[in-house]
């Protein structure tokens, strides 16, 4: 059965007809053409599909698209404005917090979710906020450094 839902995705209102059992992740990627949320495990374990839903970091593979009706969704595509990187993106580049890059969009969105609600976290709070985002390449050190750097500068 198809349901018509309306979402605000990266500042733009979008109306789509979705199947009951399709996830927000599937709809974002296949119907709205937004591919930065990645398919990593479809099980809520790896965080590669993390987006902000009404300002909160969620695994979009665990949200049914119909549950997101009326929600405000933000993905990493929305962070840089007019060629200017968001401070988190800039910090990820400068700290070399990236290797294969597959976890990067989700990682940045989890970090943004944290800094939006807690602009000055401790290292342990950063590690906890990112504990649901797996990265197999970097050992997390540089990622945590990048987030702390932004938090210290207070310009997130």
């Amino acid at each position: 059965m198809l349901h018509e839902i309306t979402l605000t995705v990266n500042g733009e209102q979008r109306t789509v007809a979705v199947k009951s059992h399709h996830t927000l992740l599937k709809v974002l990627r296949e119907q709205l053409g937004i591919t930065s949320p990645k398919i990593g495990c479809e099980n809520g374990e790896c965080g590669a599909c993390t987006v902000l839903m009404n300002g909160k970091a969620v695994n979009s593979c665990l949200v049914l698209a119909v549950e997101a009706d009326g929600a405000v969704i933000e993905t990493v595509e929305n962070l840089s404005k007019e060629g200017e990187l968001h401070p988190l993106q800039q910090a990820f580049v400068e700290h070399n917090a990236i290797q294969c890059g597959f976890c990067t969009p989700g990682m940045i969105m989890s970090a943004k979710g944290l800094l939006d609600r807690n602009p000055h976290p401790t290292v342990d709070e950063v590690k906890e906020a990112l504990a649901g985002n797996l990265c197999r390449c970097t050992g997390y050190i540089r990622i945590v450094d990048a987030v702390m750097d932004v938090a210290k500068k207070g310009d997130a």
């Binding site: 990627r29 990645k38 990593g40 990236i98 950063v126 990112l130 970097t138």
Partner: protein
């Protein structure tokens, strides 16, 4: 070598792909949604060993949305392939040898229709008895997994790699201190965040273009040509961004590429297959499990005398890279030490436990755990400090290795050991932790060292060719057959090009790997990109630089050797600078060719596979790591507090990239040490997603301190060696040696999880086929 002489080599730099990756613009194979594209899914075996009694794919074609279906009949010689042993098929032929092996593949309008098509296929499998214990794979009555052999050896025997020096049994008789112990490592899942995938697009000339997240696109191309019978010029393989690999995206992806290409040719439409995580874990190859039997002998003063290392490697259902893995394991099995006599024999065998292939460290990760545990135990027996014992016996410049190779340069092991000793405050902590009496939690500190042969070694032909070209907009485009799946070689090539041409790195673009634009340079494996393709890039850039210098001299009306550089500009004796663009324009007007190839071949070496002697590698990476742990004795929980790592990498070209490799490698080593175990129960993998296969998270990683010991390595570009694999190899034994220091309990079977640390053994758990059977039929 002074850093002052370089502008970009060894200096801070950003990754060249960073911008695409932080903005979400980078496309991975699963991000391609083409008009008219079909989705593919494979029917995979639910039995570990069986004869295919009856296979009827016609019902799949009656499923709405299904467009094409293939079996092994759709390939030349049933798609038989494999290197070095041709024992695998693009789709199963006659038999299946492991749970998850692809039998048929379906292409359909939607993923759901493809899955329904798979479920409609009639496939009758007749179960065969399986081999699930590598130690019994060669029993006379063991079920036959492999093909009959021409030499009449056991069909489950794959290969044996020896190293021989003298007679260790004779020497051991004279040794007052002898240690004999057995060690075991388990299968490890690569856990790249992006699963396997390939997209095939049929071309108008009857050929096919394949996007595949593999490591080595030329090998994919070679397999496509062979099993599809296509003219090589009609087959193109492109590597988009790859979401991690660590050795894991080759053999299985060769099959995937062949399957989607055959489906695309049949359906005459683009076909993409991307794996669910369950499919990926069940079907993909793992790090082999190894059973190691080590005997060491020493004099009372701590001089190491003899080593025997008799190992068995579980290759699982197919050979994949196991003969090479076993060979690398054999070369490193005695560790980075001097001995009077050595006997190493590493035997690889077939079983029905999934299949094993390449994974970071490639045999040395396993072997290093064995030997570095044994060395620690022997130091304890001798009453010596573990670092002192290693320093007394470890390889130095001028030594001859047990293989018979004289080390003439770039052996920084002593400096690595001394560095981590100082950084970790080793001597104070060893003494302090030895006095602990708490029954609740205790700390410990342990060390492990590593040597790791650079590049392929005597495994095969070892050369690379890079290309370079100045484009109309004065940017410089380079191509390499050695590819970037996250490690960072594209940034390394950029820095080398900028250095040699005297231009800003922003001008340089390294193309994504594409068999139509790059030149086959062998596989992207064995941590060989920086040395091989780095050298090739340097040669190409130097060739182009000479051309431009010649043009500049013509323009500046002076001898080429009198041309100087200020920034990017060229300056002659009259001191009037001429811009890079003007020199390029002038070179063009002179009719000069502004492109170049650079080829570099590794020094020739030879290994005698029967005598077990020779020169296995043309150089070695050396390293020492120290781990500090806190163990909760009540529940067996180990928290790693610190890792100090010193790596003799030669000259570091891209420091941030190299550090990233060290941090990431240590983290994989930590997972291998404490939590990662891909358990096969009667051939069924017990963990099929990240809910039960646990890898380290941000909360598991310790503080890490890394130092590079930059001994000059004359064959390497600017004296560079490598880093990717060696970063993870010594971590697990360092952690387990630290656990011993904390608890007095020696863990000889990885991983050192709660049960093994608290109870000294793993509690028996009954296995189940359910996760695999369900995992292969969902999503």
């Amino acid at each position: 070598m002074s850093d002052l002489q370089y502008k970009y080599i060894g200096k801070p730099a950003d990754r060249v792909d960073a911008l695409e990756k932080v903005t979400g613009a980078a496309k991975y194979v699963g991000d391609y949604y083409l008009p008219d594209m079909l989705y593919a899914r494979a029917l995979r075996s639910e039995l570990p060993h069986a004869r295919i009694k009856h296979l009827d794919t016609r019902p799949a074609l009656n499923v709405p949305g299904v467009i094409a279906v293939i079996t092994s009949e759709d390939f030349i010689d049933h798609g038989r392939f494999g290197f070095p042993v041709k024992d695998h098929f693009a789709l199963a032929f006659e038999k299946v040898r492991y749970v998850g092996q692809a039998i048929a593949a379906v292409a359909a309008e939607t993923p759901e229709a493809a899955l329904n098509g798979v479920k409609a296929i009639i496939c009758e499998l007749e179960p065969l008895p399986g081999v699930f214990d590598m130690d019994h794979a060669l029993d006379p009555d063991a079920p036959q997994v492999g093909f009959e052999r021409e030499d009449h050896k056991h069909p489950n025997f794959l290969d044996m790699s020896p190293v021989y020096k003298g007679d260790p049994d004779e020497v051991l008789k004279d040794c007052p201190v002898v240690l004999h112990e057995e060690y075991r490592t388990v299968h490890q899942e690569h856990s790249y965040l992006e699963t396997e995938g390939a997209l095939a697009i049929p071309t108008s000339d009857g050929g096919v273009t394949v996007y595949c997240n593999n490591q080595s696109p030329f090998i994919t191309k070679g397999n496509l040509v062979a099993v599809l019978g296509l003219d090589p010029i009609k087959v193109r393989v492109i590597q988009p961004h790859v979401g991690g690999s660590f050795g894991g995206k080759d053999d299985l992806n060769y099959l995937t590429a062949c399957q989607v290409a055959a489906l695309a040719l049949k359906a005459k439409r683009p076909v993409r297959m991307t794996f669910s995580r369950e499919e990926s874990m069940i079907a993909s190859y793992k790090r082999d499990a190894m059973h190691m039997r080590i005997t060491l002998g020493a004099d009372k003063d701590g001089t190491l005398r003899a080593c025997k290392a008799i190992h068995t490697l579980d290759s699982g259902a197919y050979s994949s890279q196991s003969p090479f893995t076993a060979w690398r394991a054999s070369i490193h099995a005695m560790g980075a030490y001097r001995y009077d006599a050595v006997k190493v024999e590493v035997t690889s065998v077939y079983t029905n436990n999934g299949f094993s292939g390449a994974f970071r460290g490639f045999g040395n990760t396993e072997a290093c755990f064995g030997i570095e545990s044994a060395i620690d135990e022997l130091a304890e027996k001798l009453g010596m400090d573990p670092i002192d014992f290693r320093l007394k016996n470890c390889l130095r410049v001028g030594d001859v290795t047990p293989h018979g190779q004289k080390l003439t340069e770039s052996v920084g092991l002593v400096e690595c050991l001394e560095t981590v000793r100082k950084l970790s405050d080793w001597d104070r902590k060893r003494a302090e932790y030895a006095r602990q009496t708490s029954q609740d939690t205790r700390c410990g500190i342990g060390v492990a060292v590593l040597f790791h042969g650079t590049s392929l070694g005597a495994e095969g032909v070892d050369c690379a060719t890079n290309t370079i070209e100045i484009l109309p907009d004065y940017s410089v485009a380079c191509a390499s057959g050695l590819t970037d799946y996250g490690q960072g070689p594209r940034t390394v090539y950029t820095l080398i090009t900028a250095e040699e041409l005297g231009i800003s790195p922003e001008r340089v673009r390294i193309l994504l790997a594409d068999t139509d634009t790059a030149i086959d340079s062998g596989p992207t494996v064995a941590s060989r990109s920086t040395i091989l393709a780095g050298n090739a890039m340097r040669v190409a850039a130097q060739t182009l630089a000479r051309t431009l210098n010649f043009a500049a001299a013509d323009m500046l009306k002076c001898e080429p050797q009198r041309v100087m550089r200020i920034g990017e500009a060229y300056v002659g004796p009259n001191e009037e600078p001429v811009s890079w663009e003007k020199v390029v324009d002038h070179a063009r007007s002179m009719g000069l060719v502004l492109s170049a190839h650079g080829k570099w071949s590794a020094p020739e070496i030879h290994w005698d596979h029967h005598k077990g002697t020779g020169t296995p590698y043309f150089g070695y990476h050396f390293a020492a790591q120290v781990a500090e742990v806190q163990v909760d004795l009540r529940i067996g929980k180990t928290q790693v507090l610190n890792i100090w790592a010193a790596h003799d990498t030669g000259k570091v070209i891209f420091p941030q990239g190299a550090l990233g490799q060290v941090y990431g490698g240590i983290t994989q080593g930590l997972g291998y040490a404490l939590m990662e175990e891909a358990i096969y129960a009667d051939g069924y993998l017990q963990s099929v997603n990240f809910d039960t296969y646990l890898i380290p998270t941000s909360m598991d990683v310790p503080d890490m301190t890394a130092r590079f010991v930059e001994t000059n390595f004359s064959p390497g570009p600017y004296g560079a060696k490598n880093i990717a694999e060696p970063a993870m190899v010594p971590t697990a034994p360092a952690i387990v040696n630290a656990i011993y220091h904390a608890t007095g309990k020696r863990i000889r079977v990885l991983p050192a999880d709660l049960e093994r640390v608290a109870l000294g053994k793993s509690l028996h758990k009954r296995g189940s086929p359910v996760s695999c059977k369900v995992g292969l039929k969902v999503k």
